[in-house]
Amino acid sequence: MQDRMIARAKELLADGTVDRVMGWKKGEFLYDATPAVFYSAEELDAGFVMNAFTAANVSKYLIKETKKEGKILAFLKPCDSFSFRQLMNEHRVDRDKVYIVGIPSWGKADMEKIRQKGITGITSIEEREGDFVVNTILRETHVIKKYDVYLEKCKNCKSKEIVVYDELLDGENGAAVTNSRFDEVAKLEAMTPDERFAFWQNELSRCIRCNACRNVCPACTCEKCVFDNPKSGLENKAAATSFEENMFHIIRAFHVAGRCTDCGECSRVCPQHIPLHLLNRKFIKDMNELYGDFQAGEAEQQRHPVTSYRTDDAEPGVIYTRGGTGK
């Protein structure tokens, strides 16, 4: 697929449709491919990658890119396309300045999970039906079940559909897939408050406030984050109080409620492996249950559940009485 993408990118550069390409660049290691912009065919040949590790969501980068002159080519995976669509809904990206080639994604690999299998020094990774085939410097070849090493976000993939594109690399679009992404949330809901508190205290105490989750999140695109804004009343660069420390994740989840497409980037990038997606999914689950199913970024949407209402909405007391939240 990488070769086909590079070939198509070259064509589009050559015929002047676009003047640059948003994709993924080789890192120092095979598994640290990062989003990057390529300006020429040479650059593409030298660095463009597409493999089982190009999980990063590139849509957020397009906010800045579409502020620039010229048109950019972006390869969007299904989950990237949801984020991009949501950014369009929020007028954050200029659709006219992006030429989108939709690319399929059959699940990306989590390097941590591969390492846990005792495999290091990877030199190549190939996808095969149901398996990843990995070669290492020690000239070993490992065949790993894909599902075992999927990223969390890919394990619970919500859709293979590309919701916004100019062309599809494969010519075919995917569809929504059944998933059990709310199971973990439901499991937590079924616990007692004490257990839940213990769980979250354990998870959140590890947070080092590196802001990786915020910086990667395609919904967290504020010009300036409230936590950096002296007028918001809670800015605290010098950590004068522990407020931000304690509340950061709740407020962040609240701010993206209704806009989070559940792309799972927050959990992917967290160096402390905090399952941050469980906070966002809790909101999504609640909104689906209380206000009707809603998928951010799925279509052109003016309002989301937090910016709309019905006069017969449930009263806030409902959360104390409805089932599934433990005793």
Binding site: C222, E223, K224, G233, V256, V306
Partner: protein
């Protein structure tokens, strides 16, 4: 750093009886930024206010905290006092230590402690207060009245006489409305036309009034003081400025079979017509649904006979755009459709009529020239049955009727019954009623006169069935007081149909963003205290569009409405509430979420150029709040993820500071 003065009020013993005011003043005096702190018996009294003013001057105070009664009581008093000595009124904060402390807590120690905490919170807030200056918007000194019935005419006349321009938009070819169709008015029985038509003429001659008849409102933009309205002047196919209203065309037009809506279809008119003799403007109108010339291109009689060449078959709808400072809704009412009530056989027999049709049958200018004749065979009816509450006072879930009392039916039915008996004493008149409701000056006397002097048979009960049979109407009804069922062979049945708001009201309300109740009546800003204003600033209500009412009430409301409009138009500028939302453009993402939750449409977006950190410039979409439209609810501030949207007077960090002060 602010220089804050704290003033603790005793409120006689109301506060001082439970709160140690000295201790409160003393303790708050040590708070950072507080340069002066004192207590006084009655802070709201003249001398109390003088104390505040003097202290502001003496200590150069930049902020004032009054620990007293509820801000809902005296916030304005103290703001004015501060303003009088040059301190911005929004630098005053009130700590409510009466309603929230002294009146509900009995223990001196607890109460004093709480008073101090509330004082601290107010001080914390004042530290972050900034002087606010209320925005001013100019006022377009012209009013629009939508609807040219008696309500609209009266409102327009009153506004015009105060010296302001008024435009009346009326959807039908003439002003006058429903009152023009009515024969006599209760309880004085003067002729409706005799009192209405002079007003219509007055409206047309008053130089400040401009009548757009046969026109409709297409679009409303803007806000209080600054509305821009698009008015659609529907094509009459007659040049209004040339037509003299001689009526020759309406006599010569060969198309004679057009149901006359002014007579509710009880007679016919021509395809070119003037609704009635006293129409204002008295201009002919061609009905394109019936005009042979417009339909087939063959005829042109009216054009030939017109001496002033006023006929123009090519006329098109024309859009006029006008600016207004205030909009008056006077869209009125119409009777409900009664054919859904099958039991009354309205659709089966022409002799079953509605009360408004009965008005036309009684009217000297009506289809029968004022002689009461049955529509079916044009004979004189001898037995007439009136049925009240047809479609009024129904169950809320009813699909046929309305849950409310239509208010005017009892009186006009009494009027019909009385007039019928007066003119035709050989007629037996029955009125079936559930209750007879006659609150009003000389109303009950009027009803009693119908019964006692004119011998109208009032029967407590309801008609259950009307069957047309051999030219008669068999009426089956209950007489609850005699506990029997009545069977009357009537010649005519008159239904007192419930009234409902005009159909045009709902789409108009949407254009005006004015609220309506479930029955499509416009809602008032306050049902008791602001009954002629809509909650939407600059929109006023006149007449039946707000709820059922009779002519005297309609006229009083119309004048009241005019007074409110004049009160708005005399102002050169509107001073807004400065506690409105504002967006920090540097931080705004332009995501439109605030726009989605704003109930007033106060937020718009513009593209602005910004310098980026890397010295390039970029165009960003940013929110802008119209302070004249914003009412300061703050819905946008919570929706805004970046905190770019904030509210003056209740800013994020002011409220945070209060929280912190309370939770210290």
């Amino acid at each position: 750093m602010q220089r804050i003065g704290v003033f603790v009020c005793w409120c006689g013993s109301n506060i001082a009886g439970t709160v140690d005011v000295k201790k409160v003043a003393e303790t708050l005096g040590h708070e950072p930024g507080v340069v002066f702190s004192t207590d006084y018996q009655y802070m709201c009294s003249q001398s109390g206010q003088d104390l505040v003013k003097d202290s502001i001057r003496t200590y150069n105070l930049t902020g004032v905290v009054i620990c007293s009664c509820s801000p809902r009581m005296h916030e304005n008093t103290f703001r004015k006092a501060a303003a009088s000595v040059g301190l911005n009124p929004y630098m005053v904060e009130i700590a409510n230590i009466r309603e929230q402390v002294s009146w509900i807590h009995k223990d001196m120690e607890t109460a004093t402690e709480k008073a101090i905490i509330l004082g601290r919170a107010a001080i914390a807030k004042v530290h972050l207060n900034a002087p606010l200056i209320a925005g001013e918007t100019p006022v377009t000194k012209r009013a629009l009245v939508i609807g040219g019935g008696i309500a609209g005419i009266q409102t327009a006349l009153d506004i015009a006489e105060a010296g302001f321009e008024v435009d009346i938009v009326e959807k039908s070819p003439t002003i006058g409305g429903k009152m023009a169709q009515i024969d006599k008015t209760f309880p004085t029985l003067d002729c409706a036309a005799c009192i209405l038509t002079p007003k219509m003429v007055e409206a047309s001659q008053q130089e400040n009034i401009n009548i757009y008849a046969f026109s409709e409102v297409d679009e409303v933009k803007g806000f209080v003081g600054n509305f821009t309205v698009k008015i659609r002047r529907k094509a009459r196919y007659v040049k209004e400025e040339l037509c003299t209203g001689c009526g020759l065309c309406t006599e010569k037009c060969p198309q004679k079979k057009v149901p006359d809506e002014f007579n509710l279809g009880l007679s016919n008119r021509r395809a070119i017509y003037i609704p009635f003799a006293q129409a204002v403007p008295k201009v002919a109108t061609i009905d394109p649904n019936y005009c042979t010339m417009l339909k087939t291109g063959k005829c042109g009689v009216c054009s030939k006979v017109c001496g002033v060449k006023a006929i123009d078959y090519t006329q098109k709808d024309e859009i006029v755009e006008r600016k207004y400072g205030a909009i008056v809704v006077a869209t009125g009412f119409e009777p409900i459709k009664v054919d859904k009530f099958e039991e009354f056989a309205y659709a089966q027999s022409p002799d079953v009529v509605t009360s408004l049709e009965y008005e036309r049958l009684m009217n000297a200018a009506g289809p029968t020239g004022g002689t009461l004749l049955r529509p079916s065979d044009k004979t004189h009816p001898h037995t007439i049955v009136f049925v009240q509450c047809v479609g009024s006072r129904c169950d809320e879930k009813s699909e046929k009727g309305k849950p409310y009392c239509s208010k005017v039916c009892c009186m006009y039915t009494a009027k019909h019954a009385m007039l019928t008996r007066e003119k035709y004493p050989d007629t037996e008149v029955y009125v079936f009623y559930i209750d007879v409701r006659t609150p009003g000056k000389n109303f009950d006397e009027f009803y009693r006169r119908a019964v006692e002097h004119y011998g109208v048979h009032y029967v407590k009960g309801m008609v259950g069935k009307v069957t047309p049979e051999n030219g008669k109407l068999k009426v089956q009804a209950s007489d609850l007081l005699d506990n029997r069922q009545l069977h009357i062979d009537a010649d005519m049945v008159v239904l007192a149909a419930a009234i409902e708001p005009d159909k045009s009201a709902r789409p108009l309300a949407t254009m005006l963003t004015a609220s309506m109740d479930t029955n499509d009546f416009f809602t008032e800003a306050h049902p008791k205290l602001r009954p002629v204003e809509s909650p939407t600033a600059g929109v006023f209500l006149s007449g039946m569009c707000q709820g059922p009412k009779d002519i005297p009430e309609t006229v009083s409301q119309a004048s009241a409405c005019a007074a409110k409009v004049i009160g708005l138009l005399v102002k050169d500028k509107l001073v807004g509430n400065p506690c409105v939302a504002h967006s920090d453009e540097m931080m705004c993402n332009g995501c439109s979420q605030c726009q989605n939750v704003c109930p007033y449409g106060a937020i718009t977006y513009t593209e602005k150029e910004f310098r980026m950190p890397d010295r390039t410039t970029a165009v960003r979409r940013v929110a802008q709040v119209n302070p004249a439209v914003c009412q300061g609810c703050g819905a946008c501030t919570v929706t805004c993820p970046s905190g770019a949207m904030d509210l003056f007077g209740f800013s994020n960090n002011q409220i945070m500071a209060e929280v912190d002060a309370i939770c210290k």
